[in-house]
């Protein structure tokens, strides 16, 4: 009997693994790229595509094959939903084909494991919701800028699914329709602290979502970024003299700006500074700008730049230099990936625009302040899409690093 049970176990093991593999192999090798995962809302990759698009046995090839194999597992969507029904159900959530619905009506895109890491997944008290680490950090940062006579403008971008709720799965109750609106509270908090924040959902809805987004795209297009940014500076025209005036006809056709990807560390001269900092002889040198040297000493370089250079996380920033612009001043444009589409617009207005996104500044709370010290912008523009403020929204917001990005740090003061 023992031998029989052992044999049965071995056969079960092999049949299970081999069965899934054989069932998947046809799709893995011959599957069409057009096939999409309903659960994840994306196209599934195939081995044939991996072979076609990558050099054999290169690291890209191997990664692509692994991805294709994972994507083409037999009945993958069904297996994912089966597991999620159990694991998500264990937390008291409901789950459907594309989303999980939390206890308070918030939702997450199925297919990501991020919901267990998203804050506010457990109910927290209203008083805690009223304050936001991100909002506080940004308000502190703006106050700092004011003290240095640097203007700021914050632009919060409504997502396409907020502009057009019909795009959401039917099982979702849009959070913005509820009485409880953390986004609005955070914007109100920022405005109370003197931060100029532009958020105009109605403007987008009245104009039509296609003016800002391509269908089914997550990011807005450049035209939409320009329209929304124009509206923003129109509303806050009192902040800067060059705002609110119509330069479009004069500039849009004729203006040329050269935008390039830059290694920001080297652009700002930080890499040479790093090497010189490693040379203790620098301690006696006085030619550095005093505040930068102070930042260096306080740990900006120690913790930030060395790691950033090593991680290459500052190398994907963009720098724009305009031959003709409305203003000769410099702008530091920071935020999330929504800044990239708006870079062109701002480069019409300003002769130099340095665009650094939160994706490329990792977790270092001194980095943005250090950038301000070195780049010395006349204006700081912060652009975030709305879910960065509202952890309850889908998309796994990278709010933790955002908060750290702006947080006041003793090490750089």
């Amino acid at each position: 009997m023992t031998k029989i049970s052992q044999l049965l176990w071995i056969l079960s093991f092999i049949v299970l693994l081999t069965g899934v593999g054989l069932s998947s192999i046809k799709d893995a090798i011959l599957g069409s790229e057009i096939e999409r995962s309903v659960t994840e809302g994306r196209s599934l990759s195939t081995i044939s595509a991996a072979v076609k698009n990558n050099r054999f046995m290169s690291s890209d090839f191997r990664n692509a094959v692994e991805t294709a194999v994972s994507d083409q597992i037999f009945e993958r969507d069904a297996l994912i939903r089966l597991w999620r029904r159990f694991s998500v159900g264990l937390m008291g959530y409901e789950t459907s084909e594309t989303v999980d619905i939390g206890r308070e009506g918030f939702w997450f895109q199925t297919g990501t494991n991020m919901y267990s890491r998203v804050p506010c997944a457990s109910p927290i008290e209203t008083s805690e919701r009223n304050s936001s680490f991100i909002a506080e950090s940004i308000a502190d940062f703006v106050e700092d800028m004011k003290s240095q006579n640097t203007d700021t403008l914050m632009i919060v971008v409504p997502l396409q699914s907020t502009v057009t709720p019909s795009l959401l799965p039917a099982s979702i109750e849009p959070l913005c329709a509820k009485e409880f609106e953390p986004l609005q509270r955070r914007i109100a908090y920022l405005r109370e602290r003197g931060v100029p924040v532009f958020y105009d959902l109605e403007f987008m809805q009245e104009s039509g979502v296609e003016q800002f987004y391509n269908k089914k795209a997550f990011h807005w297009h450049r035209g939409g970024a320009a329209r929304y940014s124009e509206e923003a500076i129109s509303e806050y025209s009192s902040v800067r003299k060059e705002w609110g005036q119509d330069f479009r006809n004069r500039l849009y056709k004729g203006s040329k700006s050269k935008t390039q990807d830059i290694d920001i560390a080297r652009y700002l001269g930080v890499a040479p500074m790093l090497q010189e900092y490693q040379n203790p002889a620098y301690k006696g040198r006085r030619e550095y700008r005093g505040s930068v040297a102070a930042s260096i000493k306080k740990g900006f370089l120690e913790n930030s730049i060395r790691n950033h250079i090593k991680q290459k996380s500052l190398k994907q920033s963009k720098y724009s230099q305009a031959r003709r612009s409305v203003s000769n001043e410099k702008v530091l444009l920071i935020g999330d990936s929504f800044t990239e589409a708006s870079l062109e617009f701002w480069s019409f207005y300003y002769s130099e625009v340095l665009n650094v996104t939160s994706n490329h500044i990792k977790q270092e709370n001194g980095a943005v302040r250090g950038l301000v010290e070195i780049f010395e912008p006349d204006l700081v523009i912060i652009v975030f899409e709305e879910s960065k403020f509202t952890p309850l929204r889908s998309g796994g917001p990278n709010w933790r690093s955002l908060g750290r990005m702006f947080k006041r740090s003793e090490r750089t003061n």
Binding site: M1, Q6, I10, G21, V69, I80, S87, F133
Partner: protein
């Protein structure tokens, strides 16, 4: 490719089994060795590409060194050169950047100008493991505990065997020498081996990875903002994560080895139930600690044969090596020294005092030391690690509700898995023993069927998780 990936589970493993068992049945051990070697080299090249050449160089180099040790008059010199060559390989690929950076930092501290930067060298996966295996081979040949392998393919199989290539256990050559030359496959061994593999897979994907979500979240926060509660949560969750991750992987390696006819030694024996740090190191990563004990402490440094002071110095060296083996960072060195310090303390009399206390206090002592030390293992920045430890022992409510409330970072799934980890790590007997245990004659078949059914259930759950998850890699992958 990792053991918990779809490619490995659904394609590579069935292909290996098919080819291996067929070749074993039709042609015997010799051909099956070649089959296993081919799959192992493919396995490594899939992860490392052209860096496979490093492994091939190591195999060929150690093959000739082993033969020379056995045949040459200058055995000791050849051994010394062999050890140095192996260490040179390891030091270059793993430590050169760290060494150069430390020199630069030290020079800067001393006021000396230097004009170079640390090189960035690719770290081949598993180099620490297969280098140590190679060193154990040539030392075993030198000590006449094993005959030099005259078949380079067999030596290649020993060094590159894929179950334990990436993350151990470190298998002594003398342990598997006979099995490499000739082995038999039994139904019982294959069944047991596959059960061990499945249990290990479950430990990794269900337990370790769940703990990892919370650990990764907390480790990203500014450490000054963590409260005492969340700092302890980070430390304890990581203690579970690293145990189940590493023990799980070891079990998978041991299980696959068993299925192929190899008997790899156990690598973990309920380490968190230890009553002293000395005992902990007899139960944690047993293959590594015994390697350092036998090859460095005893063979290299003389052990405790040269007086008390020299013994403590030797222990310090061993734990420095243990720390740095885990990673090229001063945090790992500190972690090693921390363990070494407590071992020395115990040997100087603290253990006798400890043994007079109730077991509860002995356990508490062990857990406080080990869990605290893990903070330095996980938190990359040494300064940040110190702050986390400070938060653990000096009560603080943190900087913001977001970072200080444990409830913000947990849910029912976390607590369910936490409870399982607690029972598994502390209350249950050694996992391999359960899987291998023979029941009494009366209930042997029932017990076997129950184990098989249990393993099948764990397999189904693990496969569901694997399919649901994104890529995940083992903690010890880059050692």
């Amino acid at each position: 490719m990792v053991f918990s990936s779809s490619l490995f589970l659904f394609y590579f493993l069935p292909a290996v089994f098919l080819a291996y068992f067929a070749s074993m049945k039709l042609f015997g051990t010799g051909v099956s060795n070649i089959v296993l070697l081919a799959f192992s080299l493919f396995f490594y090249s899939w992860g490392e590409g052209l860096y496979l050449f490093i492994m091939v160089v190591s195999i060929i180099m150690n093959f000739f060194i082993g033969v020379l040790i056995q045949t040459s008059r200058f055995r000791r010199s050849v051994l010394n050169i062999g050890v140095l060559l192996n260490l040179a390989l390891l030091i270059y690929y793993k430590y050169i950047g760290f060494i150069v950076q430390s020199v630069i930092d030290s020079a800067a501290f001393a006021g000396i100008a230097v004009d170079f930067t640390a090189p960035e060298v690719h770290l081949p996966i598993g180099i620490s493991f297969f280098t140590f295996q190679a060193i154990s081979y040539i030392i075993d040949v030198y000590r006449n505990e094993a005959k030099a392998q005259r078949n380079v393919l067999n030596l290649g199989l020993y060094i590159s065997l894929f179950p334990q290539l990436i993350a151990g256990p470190i298998v002594r050559y003398s342990t598997v020498d006979a099995e490499i030359r000739e082995r038999t496959i039994t139904l019982s061994a294959v069944a047991t081996g596959l059960r061990l593999f499945v249990v290990g897979l479950f430990m990794k994907v269900a337990l370790a990875d769940t703990m990892a979500y919370t650990v990764d979240t907390l480790a990203e926060y500014p450490v000054e903002a963590l409260s005492s509660g969340t700092s302890w949560m980070l430390a304890i969750s990581y203690s579970f994560q690293i145990f189940f991750d590493f023990a799980g992987y070891s079990l998978m390696a041991i299980g696959l080895g068993r299925a192929f006819g190899f008997t790899f030694p156990s690598n973990f024996d309920q380490p968190y139930t230890s009553l002293s740090i000395q005992e902990f190191w007899r139960r944690w990563h047993i293959s590594l600690s015994s390697w350092f004990r036998d090859y460095l402490y005893i063979f290299g440094l003389g052990g405790n044969r040269r007086g008390a002071f020299r013994t403590y110095v030797n222990l310090g060296i061993v734990f420095f090596a243990t720390g740095i083996w885990h990673g090229a960072s001063w945090s790992f060195v500190f972690w090693g020294f921390m363990h070494g310090f407590f071992i020395i303390l115990e040997r100087t009399g603290a253990l006798s005092f400890l043994q007079q206390l109730p077991k509860l206090f002995q356990r508490l002592y062990l857990l406080l030391v080990v869990i605290t030390a893990w903070v330095f293992f996980r938190v990359e920045d040494f300064g940040d690690a110190v702050i986390v430890v400070k938060n653990m022992y000096v009560p603080t409510d943190g900087g913001h509700p977001l970072f200080s409330h444990i409830s913000m970072h947990t849910n029912l799934m976390y607590w369910t898995v936490f409870a399982i980890c607690l029972v598994w790590a502390f209350a249950s007997p050694n996992t391999p023993k359960i899987v291998e245990q023979r029941a009494s004659q009366i209930s042997a078949s029932g017990w076997d069927a129950a184990k098989s059914f249990g393993a099948l259930l764990l397999l189904v759950i693990s496969l569901l998780i694997v399919v649901s998850n994104t890529y995940s890699s083992f903690i010890y992958f880059r050692f």
